[in-house]
Structures are given as structure tokens and as C-alpha cells.
């Protein structure tokens, strides 16, 4: 019976049934089987209105949409280009850093590829990077930055992990700190690769650092520059809570894009807000029904049984970690981010802590896997977004992006087997 239901839901999922309905179906059936009144599912969805940290999600998303609709992406690219563009591989590094910052703010929804890729791809070609390298870089760039504050997947993982009452408890602030070094590792590795792939510049004029251009670009970006300092500084110093950082970001971005620069006309505002809130609604409803599913799973002691089963078959920790990576990568590719986080965390986190993993380390490892799963062949979502956006066949995108995938996969292995990378900033190695 269980197998029949599982197969039926899988088939419905592949035919395009929305994730929230699939997750809700599991929760409803589970509670029904245990003899509960189904109103309990509504009680769980209602908890979306009881957690202060969730207020951050619509606010950060709104800020991200406003920024991507303004000319901020172009200014960001122009400024980083003026600062590091003269180095070998400079422009590629610009692309990586700008994309990471942008993805951290907008979440992994493919917005980075669409909004920044549109600026970066032609710029890379113009600077004589090969088309294959540029296409691969733009595809991979959509997967950078998930580990940096204030990325929504980090917040969502934190919220779900808190439901499970792990020891030590998971806090969103800890996750923000823990993601810094692993995120930097991924960026650095790709930056070094970019330097080795950079075209030979024969014209010495292009090589020189231009003070005047740099100054002009910085002045041009004067309103955007304080934002990362304000938000990241506030969050990383522990002075403001995530929801306050979100309020600050949203209000600041609104003032800059709509009131000061007027790049977004007031009349366009309702449509942009509607678009952003639709995305938020989709994510939060999945989170709401996932609360119900988590509650059912704990009530039915499924994670405990799963742990006992896994422990019986996998005795060595390093083997467990390897299997965990393969598992998370596969589901990261298939479930595209948020659904993977809300469904897999309650099932897998108790197993990981059972093997002695720190829940914060697990979170970073989980999201690192998810973010590269986004462009894992053959079904990773970002492969398709790049393919549509730049009108290239998916097979070509896959060929172009696999070196980036291999490098990032090596980083994921390092993050898996060296907990120190994630935990050193929390001072609990």
C-alpha cells in the first residue's frame, strides 16, 4: 500500500503536480492514518503567521526583485569590473562575485542567470573568453552565493531544523556565520579556474588599472555600496536579527530604486510587488504544509526508524557521508531547492546527527549539495534556464558547465569531510 501511494505521488509529481499539493497529500494521509482530525494540518499551516523570522522572507525577496528590475546589476558589474577587471581572469571573477552577492539576496530561483547573466554573458564574449567557458560560467553562477547571508534557503533550513529540536539548537544567525568559509572556498576555486582560462590580452592598454574609471564606477554605485556593508555587517556582527535586517534592506532598496534614483516608476511597483509576492507565496505554502509533514513524521517516529535502518547497513561514518552526498545531489537536482529542503531535512537531519554530525554543519553541507544539484545533468533547473535564456541547446549547456560542476563537487567533498570549515567561526569545532 505504502509503495503504491509513493509511486502514485511520484508519477503525479513527474506529470507536473505542484510540490505543495504532493507534500500536503503526504501529511493529510499520514495524520488520517494515525486517526487525527485533519484540522491539525491547518493548525500547522497557520504557524506561518507565528514565526518572527518568516517576516524576513517577503521583505528580502521584495528587495531582490526591486534590485533586479533597476539598473543595479549593471552598476554592480561595472564597478567590480573597474576594480578587478584589469587582472587576468578579472572579468570572470567579477561575474562570480557579482553573481554570488546577487544570489545571496534573491535566493536560488534562476533570477541571477536571467538578470545578471544577460549583462555578463555578452561582456565575457566581448573580452575574448571562449563561448563555452562563458556559457558554463553563467550557468554555474546561478549556484553561487546560497551559503551567504541573507540567502532564503539558509533561513528556510534554519526554520525547519528548529522544528526538530536538535542539540545543539540550530539558529539562523549561526547558519549565516557557518556559510562564510565554505562559500568563499567555492568562489575561490572557481576564481582560480577562471584565471587559468582567461584569454591572452595583447593590448597592454586593456591590462592597466584605470583609477579614473574605478572612481567613476564607485561614485556611480554610491547608493548601492552601503547596502551589503549595512546588511552583512549588521547580521554578521550579531547586532540585528534576520527579520530586522530584512526590513532594513527592503526599505533601503525601495528608497534607492523608487524614490532617489527613480529607476522603477511608481506605476510599475504593484506589478513588481505582485510578482515577488507570488514567488514568496509559492515557497511559504510549501513550508507551511512541510510543517505538517514534519510533525507527522516525528509523531510516527519515522526518522528514528530510518536512522535504525541506515545504521544497520552503513557502519562507517565516511561511507555514510559519501552516500549522503550522492543522495542530496540527486534530490537537489530533482526537487529544485525549497521542496528538497523542507522534505529532506526532517528525514535526513536526525540520521546525520545520529552519526555525530553538527546540525549546522549538516545544513551547510546540505545547501552546498543543493546548489550544485541545480546544474547537475540531466535535470538541474539552471541548465534549462540558461538554455532558454541564451537560446542554446541543453546538451551544449551541459558540456559547457561540467568543468565548473566537477570543481564545485570537489569543494562539496571538502565541506563534507572537514567540518572545521563550517564550524570554526562558531567556535565549536
Amino acid at each position: 500500500m505504502i509503495w503504491f501511494i509513493a509511486l502514485a505521488l511520484l508519477a503525479l509529481g513527474l506529470m507536473g503536480a505542484p510540490f505543495f499539493a504532493l507534500i500536503a497529500a503526504l501529511a493529510l494521509m499520514g495524520f488520517y492514518g494515525q486517526g487525527y482530525d485533519l484540522a491539525i494540518v491547518a493548525v500547522e499551516i497557520n504557524r506561518l503567521g507565528e514565526m518572527p523570522v518568516l517576516v524576513a522572507i517577503p521583505l528580502f525577496t521584495l528587495a531582490g526583485y526591486l534590485l533586479s528590475e533597476s539598473a543595479a546589476p549593471q552598476r554592480l558589474v561595472r564597478m567590480t569590473q573597474a576594480l578587478v577587471g584589469w587582472m587576468p581572469g578579472g572579468l570572470a571573477i567579477v561575474a562570480l562575485v557579482a553573481s554570488a552577492l546577487f544570489t545571496a539576496l534573491t535566493g536560488a530561483s534562476g533570477v541571477t542567470i536571467v538578470a545578471l547573466g544577460a549583462v555578463l554573458f555578452p561582456a565575457l564574449l566581448q573580452a575574448h573568453y571562449s563561448e563555452r567557458f562563458s556559457l558554463g560560467l553563467v550557468t554555474a553562477s546561478g549556484s553561487l552565493g546560497l551559503l551567504f547571508a541573507p540567502s532564503l534557503p539558509l533561513i528556510i533550513y534554519g526554520v525547519v531544523a528548529q522544528q526538530l529540536n536538535t542539540t545543539p539548537r540550530v539558529s539562523v544567525d549561526d547558519l549565516f556565520l557557518a556559510g562564510i568559509i565554505p562559500g568563499m572556498l567555492m568562489l575561490t576555486v572557481l576564481a582560480i579556474y577562471a584565471i587559468t582560462q582567461s584569454p591572452k590580452i595583447n593590448n597592454p592598454e586593456e591590462k592597466r588599472f584605470d583609477w579614473r574609471a574605478a572612481r567613476a564606477a564607485i561614485i556611480d554605485a554610491k547608493w548601492e555600496l552601503p547596502l551589503p556593508i549595512l546588511v552583512l555587517g549588521g547580521i554578521y556582527s550579531g547586532r540585528i536579527a534576520p527579520s530586522e535586517a530584512a526590513a532594513l534592506t527592503a526599505v533601503y532598496v525601495f528608497l534607492v530604486t523608487v524614490v532617489i534614483r527613480r529607476e522603477i516608476k511608481i506605476t510599475r511597483l504593484p506589478a513588481i510587488v505582485r510578482e515577488a509576492m507570488m514567488l514568496v507565496g509559492g515557497i511559504l505554502l510549501i513550508l507551511g504544509v512541510a510543517f505538517a509533514l514534519t510533525n507527522y513524521l516525528i509523531d510516527a517516529e519515522i526518522p528514528t526508524q530510518l536512522f535504525a535502518w541506515v545504521q544497520e547497513h552503513v557502519t562507517q561514518k565516511w561511507l555514510f557521508l559519501l552516500a549522503l552526498n550522492a543522495f542530496l545531489l540527486f534530490f537537489g537536482m530533482l526537487l529544485e531547492g525549497y521542496p528538497a529542503i523542507v522534505v529532506l531535512t526532517p528525514l535526513v537531519l536526525p540520521i546525520a546527527t545520529g552519526y555525530g554530525m553538527d546540525p549546522v554543519h549538516f545544513g551547510i553541507l546540505f545547501l552546498a549539495n543543493l546548489q550544485i544539484g541545480l546544474f547537475l545533468a540531466p535535470l538541474g533547473m539552471n541548465l534549462f534556464i540558461t538554455s532558454y535564456r541564451f537560446r542554446k541547446p541543453v546538451t551544449e549547456v551541459i558540456r559547457a558547465s561540467w568543468p565548473f560542476f566537477v570543481l564545485l563537487f570537489a569543494c562539496v567533498l571538502a565541506i563534507t569531510y572537514i567540518p572545521w570549515l563550517s564550524l570554526v567561526l562558531l567556535q565549536r569545532p
Binding site: L12, L14, M15, G16, A17, P18, F19, F20, A21, A24, A25, L28, D37, L38, A39, I40, V41, A42, I45, N46, L48, G49, E50, P52, L54, V55, I57, P58, L59, L62, V114, E244, A247, A250, V251, F254, P270, V273, R274, M277, M278, L279, V280, G281, G282, I283, L284, L285, I286, L287, G288, L334, L335, E336, P339, M381, F384, I385, Y388, R389
Partner: protein
């Protein structure tokens, strides 16, 4: 038929307007909260108000996403479902989604009744069931939107942008 089309357009307009207003309202509340924090402490009802707005936003946003066929889903394979099999799959998915939404509507209606009887407040004398009343409304409308996909498919939103 024309009446139905007009009704659907009207409902869509209200949903869109409500969603945009909730988003902008939350932004204004956030600005107020920052201001209050700077000058000391704000009114006690501001935090619960923002949390309730988040619940409403989540539900109305999901409602609009359902109407436009833009809920998160695995949509890499659906584009290869063509012909009668594609039709059958679409109808099956629509019926399944509508069924789940109907169950959620029923469950949340029960919750609203329970809250009504218990008489708890969210803030400033406002009964809690007011805040929850959005749930059965949204899930009922979602059921209708999901069923409407039997008649016509959702627009494909992964088209290349110009």
C-alpha cells in the same frame, strides 16, 4: 459564459490587488518598525500584525501562483508530455491538486470554527479567527483555479525572455 469570464476576471483583479497591497503594506509596516526601533519602542501590535500579514501574503501569493500555473513543480518533463497522454496527465494533476485544496479548505474551516468558539485574540481585541478566515477562502478559490486547468492548460512560463 460571458458572465463566468467576467466573474473570473473580477476575482483575478481582486486577488492581484490584495497581493500587491499586502506586499506594500508589509513594507510600510517594516519602515514603521525601523523608525520605532530607532526612537525607542513601538506599539505592541506591530509585530503580530506583520506576522499575520506574512501568513496572508503566503496564502494569497500561493493562490495567484496556482491561478497562473506557477506553483513550484517538476516541470522539466511536462513539456514532453504531448497528445492524449498529455491531456490525461493534465486532467489527472488538476483533479489531484483540486482534491488536496478542497481537503485543506475543509480542514482550515474546522480550525476557524474552533478558534471562533475559543475566542482567543491576536492583538488589540481583534479575534484570532479573523486572521485565520483567509485560509478556507484561499483554499476554496485554489480548488476552483486548479479545476479550471482541466478546461485549458497553464501558460508556459519557461519561455525564453526576449
Amino acid at each position: 459564459m460571458r458572465f463566468l469570464r467576467g466573474l473570473a476576471d473580477g476575482v483575478a483583479w481582486i486577488e492581484n490587488a490584495l497581493l500587491a497591497s499586502l506586499g506594500l503594506g508589509l513594507l510600510i509596516a517594516a519602515a514603521a518598525q525601523l523608525g520605532f526601533r530607532f526612537f525607542g519602542s513601538g506599539p505592541v501590535w506591530l509585530d503580530p500584525l506583520m506576522r499575520t500579514a506574512t501568513l496572508w501574503l503566503a496564502l494569497v501569493g500561493a493562490l495567484v501562483a496556482t491561478r497562473e500555473g506557477r506553483q513550484l513543480q517538476i516541470d522539466v518533463l511536462t513539456r514532453y508530455l504531448r497528445g492524449w497522454f498529455g491531456h490525461a496527465a493534465r486532467i489527472l494533476v488538476a483533479l489531484f491538486t483540486a482534491g488536496i485544496c478542497a481537503l485543506l479548505a475543509h480542514a482550515s474551516w474546522t480550525l476557524v470554527q474552533l478558534e471562533y468558539e475559543s475566542g482567543t485574540e491576536i492583538f488589540a481585541g481583534l479575534p484570532n479567527w479573523w486572521a485565520l478566515a483567509i485560509m478556507p477562502v484561499v483554499f476554496t478559490l485554489m480548488t476552483v483555479h486548479a479545476l479550471s486547468f482541466i478546461a485549458h492548460p497553464a501558460p508556459d512560463h519557461l519561455q525564453p525572455t526576449p
